[in-house]
Structures are given as C-alpha cells and as structure tokens.
C-alpha cells in the first residue's frame, strides 16, 4: 500500500517533508438533557428518600426506576407507588478495574437489587460487607448519601446487608 511519504516523494516542493499520519481533532457538543416525565417523578422523590416506582396498568409489573413505558406492554406506567428501602441481591459482580470518569474506588460490588415489591432489579452498589460475603439472595437495605441528596440516583450511596436470613430463591427467581 502506498504511504503518504511515497506520495510526497513525487512532489518536489514536499519531497522529504515529515508526513502527517495522524491528526487530533477535538469536538465538543453541548446538550441539555431532560429525563422525561416518568424519570422526573422518580428522581424528584429521591431527595426525600422516597423510592417511587410505577406499575403497568396491563401486566401490573412494578418498575423502578420507571422509564415512561412498560417495555413489554408498550403502554405508559402512570400509577405510582412507593417502595420500601429493602430488597434482595439477585446477582452481582466485583469490579476490580477503575473506569475513567466513574470516580468509584475499586474494588466495589455492583449488584442488581430487587426492591421489595418491584419486578426489576435496581442497579446499585453493595457495601459495608466483605465482598467475599456478598451472596445472591442476600437481603439488603438502602444507605442514603446524606450529603448528596438530590434528584439523582447518587442519592443512594449503596445498599448494605440487613442481617436477615437470605430470601427464598423462589421470591426473586423470575425477577433478576
């Protein structure tokens, strides 16, 4: 394959010039993000430490956070209900690799927490427990980030074990 240097060699004015092979082209676009009605309802309840879920009028499944539609029925979820701050770990991993921009100290436990009464797992950290002791089925409760309560999921610092016995696998088997 031809190179830039070979092409330049044929042009007297440029013969021998150090060829450009790469160029850095920064780009910046500014957006204003709005999360929509359903997520706004959920987010604005977080500063009050309220976990606002929404129920599908057709299949009655409970979504938290709600995203505006029941994804299996394709209809708006408009009935709100408040969920307790407790739930069950349905699966998890231990993250040992720091990701640029995430600003979370590694290692940490990233888990799906099925809040009591919900039918989808909330993605959250599990802490205040040695990672070797985190289990599928473990009962956990929300720890709020008192300094950073606001309309963001960052209001929940993490979940920690409640010390209750593990949940019956049948209670969460379908709702990982």
């Amino acid at each position: 394959m031809t190179t830039a240097a070979e092409l330049l060699a044929g042009i007297p004015e440029l013969a021998g010039a150090e060829p450009v092979t790469r160029v850095t082209i920064p780009a910046r676009l500014e957006y204003t993000h709005t999360p929509g009605s359903a997520q706004t309802r959920f987010l604005t309840a977080l500063p009050d430490k309220r976990l606002l879920a929404e129920r599908c009028p057709q299949c009655t499944r409970v979504y938290v956070p709600p995203r505006g539609a029941c994804p299996t029925c394709g209809v708006a979820t408009t009935e709100q209900l408040e969920l307790p701050h407790t739930g069950t770990v349905t699966t998890f991993c231990i993250v040992n690799i720091a990701a640029k921009g995430l600003n979370i100290e590694v290692p940490y436990c990233y888990a799906y927490v099925l809040l009591d009464g919900a039918h989808v797992g909330l993605h959250a950290r599990v802490g205040d427990v040695p990672y070797a002791d985190v289990r599928i089925g473990q009962r956990v409760e929300a720890v709020w980030n008192e300094e950073r309560l606001g309309p963001s999921l960052a209001s929940i610092s993490h979940f920690r074990p409640t010390g209750e016995p593990d949940a019956d696998p049948e209670s969460y088997r379908r709702w990982m």
Binding site: M1, T3, T21, R22, I25, A27, H33, P35, Q39, L43, C59, R61, V62, Y63, R67, C70, P71, T72, T90, T91, F92, C93, I94, V95, N96, I97, A99, K100, G101, L102, I104, P107, Y110, A111, Y112, H119, V120, H123, A124, R125, Y131, I136, P151, S152, L153, A154, I156, R174, W175, M176
Partner: protein
C-alpha cells in the same frame, strides 16, 4: 411469494489490530470491500447497492459516517443503507443486504461493517455522562459480569469453564491470519491466573478492542453461477429483539435469542442443531458466553452448555467446533464483529477458511447479539443451494 435464494460469493476482512494508524476510516472499510470484491472477482460496477453497519457513531465521532464513505464504497449513484442495531449490527447488516437479494430488489449487493475504535475510545463512547444517572460500570464487561455469575449459580458450572473457552479461542486465533490477538505463548494457567477484572470475569476472558472491517458480496442464482469459487448459500436468517430491561427478563438465556435461533432452524429445516450443524461462529465477547449461548441456541440442554465445553466438544477437533476463527475473544471491531461471525461461517462452508478450516463443514451458524443481550441476528449458511 417465495424468496430468491441468496449466496455469499465474496468475503473480505482486514487484519484486526488495536489501531490501524496507516489508514483513514475510508481506507479501512475500503480494504475489506476490495478483498470481498476480489474474492468474488467482481468490480465496483457489478454492485447494485451497498448496506453498511457499525455500532454507535460516537465510537469514531462521525455522525452517519456512511455519507462520507459513499465514494470509498463505490456507492455514488447507488442505494446505500446504514444499519445500527448495537452489537448485533454486523449480523443485522448482512441480513438486510441478504433481504435485498431475497426480495428480488437487487441482483448483487455489497455489505460492509466496521469499527475504528482507535479514533476515540469505546469506554468513552459507551459511558457518556448522562445526567441524573449514577453509572456503576463502564463498558460491557461490568454490565455482563452479573449475568455470568447468574449463569454459574443457575447451572453449578465450575469456575474454570470460562478459562477453557478463552484458551481455546486464543489458540484458534493463531490459525487465523486476520485475528487481532496472536498470543503464541499463552498457557491455560496464564488465563486462569490473569487478573480478575469484573469478578467472575478475568482479563484473559475478555475481548480486545480492535480496528477492523468486514465485507461480503451477496448475490442470487445467476450471480452464484458465475462465481469463481464455491458460494455459501443462506439457508435461514433472522433477527429478534426484546426490551433492554423488563420484568422477567432472562439475562442468562434471553427469549429473543431462543426465538431467533428457532426461526433460523425452521427456515433451514434444522430439527437437531447439535447434529445437523457442523460448526458455529458465536458472538462470545466474554468467554462464559460460549456455554450460555450453546444453551440459548439449542446446542445443549438448559444448564448443560458448560459440559460441552469441558468435554472439548467445541474445540477445533470436537464435534461442534465453536469459533474456529478465534471469535470475538480474539478480534473485536465492535460494529464488524457480528459480520465477521457471519463471514467466517460462510468461509467454512465454502471450504475457504484456510488453516482454521473445519474439514467437511457443510452447514454453519453465524450469530451476533447486542444491546443489553436483547438484539439477536443469526444466519445459517450451507454449501448446498437450499431446495425450497
């Protein structure tokens, strides 16, 4: 209304590497396309339409890059379509192209998929700082690791299975000149002791980040008759999607994957995939997905996929070789990875896979998935023209 038969008569791909610093984006896709045309012994003038696919535009920082790629792909004056179905896009793109031939809309179609991840950073592209969220993972590894754990818990698979897959695919890659990773001295022990990134996924059990492109030339009966080398015939192809997150989603074995495979098998007249399919190129970006997809695709009973791995069934000399090319674990230009699976399946049934050829391969499955394990695309190709 019967579909026209579709044949793959040209396959081309680039040598996949971390950074193709010698070519522009156009130069990269062009290289794969030229090789596919050369394989088919066709020229740009023989192509009626171009279908191109890639994953998110943020990966290269070019919005709808197909607009700028029209000249490089000889598409000026022709129809050009751009597909984007997340990680499954390489497969979906090939299927959209195949449908153009099957529907009788075009005679010969060039389809291309690519990713030039070195222009930016996939981690960045996947983790744009969307407000109000609290991102807990960056990239795909953390996202899929909990699903792997759920699989291990559900099936009781020993935690060594993932390393067996990784070791197999990396050794297979040594026979594939286009594969990104050529780790000649890798040992199983090294895989098993490599750092745990997202427990239970180890470093050596994850795919690399690659620059690369893949291209196929698809045609019908008359095109296949003129082809200089044996064609691969499409016996079945399907896409299925389910929502990203929903109550009752089975992350370990998504229904969309099962339904997609069932549709392909129905079209191809396959009733016993384990026996009737000679090999599979399966989209396995993290090694544990091999046993998971073996079950999802009906090659193993539920909970039994890992046993096939342990028994060596999926090795190059096993009775269902999986990813003789080295798979996504050895090369991952994201947008192209699905099409590479489809292409490798075609090469096998054409008998043109070179050193990683499986002897006597007559029917092969190409598989891709994407999004939150929600988008699936598959095709089954064979050496014989389908008789429907």
């Amino acid at each position: 209304m019967s579909k026209q038969p579709v044949a793959v008569v040209g396959v081309g791909q680039t040598k996949h590497v971390a950074a193709r610093q010698d070519v522009s984006i156009a130069g990269l896709v062009r290289e794969a396309a030229v090789r596919a045309l050369a394989d088919a012994e066709l020229t740009w003038a023989d192509i009626d339409a171009v279908v191109i696919g890639k994953a998110p535009d943020f990966f290269e920082g070019v919005m709808m890059p197909e607009l700028y790629l029209a000249e490089a792909l000889g598409a000026v004056g022709k129809p050009m379509l751009r597909v984007h179905t997340a990680g499954s896009v390489g497969g979906s793109t090939a299927l959209v192209a195949a449908n153009l031939v099957a529907a009788g809309v075009h005679g010969t179609v060039l389809t291309v998929a690519f990713e030039k991840q070195s222009e930016s950073n996939a981690m960045w592209g996947l983790s744009l700082p969307v407000p109000f969220q609290q991102p807990l993972t960056a990239g795909a590894g953390g996202f899929f690791a909990p699903h792997v754990r759920a699989y291990m818990r559900r099936t009781g698979a020993p935690d060594t299975v993932g390393s067996l897959v990784a070791f197999k695919d990396r050794r297979n890659a040594l026979k594939n000149p286009y594969a990104h990773l050529h780790e000649h001295d890798l040992t199983l022990e090294q895989v098993q002791t490599s750092p745990m990134l997202w427990d239970p996924i180890r470093y050596s059990e994850t795919c690399p980040s690659s620059d690369g492109a893949c291209a196929l030339v698809l045609t019908g009966d008359s095109g296949a008759a003129r082809a200089p080398r044996p064609p691969a015939w499409v016996h079945g192809g399907a896409m299925r999607s389910e929502p990203t997150i929903f109550a009752g989603k089975d992350y370990v074995s998504p229904q969309a994957g099962r339904d997609c495979a069932a549709d392909v098998y129905r079209q191809a007249g396959v009733t016993d995939p384990r026996r009737q399919i000679d090999l599979a190129e399966i989209y396995v970006p993290f090694s544990w997905y091999e046993p998971m997809w073996l079950e999802n695709l009906g090659f193993a009973d539920q909970g039994e996929g890992w046993k096939l791995v342990e028994a060596g069934v999926t090795e190059m000399d096993g009775d269902l070789p999986v990813n003789p090319s080295g798979g996504v674990l050895s090369s991952n230009p994201i947008g192209a990875s699905g099409m590479i699976r489809f292409a490798e399946a075609a090469l096998q049934v054409r008998g043109l896979a070179g050193e990683h050829q499986i002897d006597g391969a007559r029917r092969a499955l190409g598989h891709a998935y994407g999004g939150g394990a929600q988008f699936f695309s598959m095709w089954l190709v064979g050496s014989e023209r389908p008789d429907h």
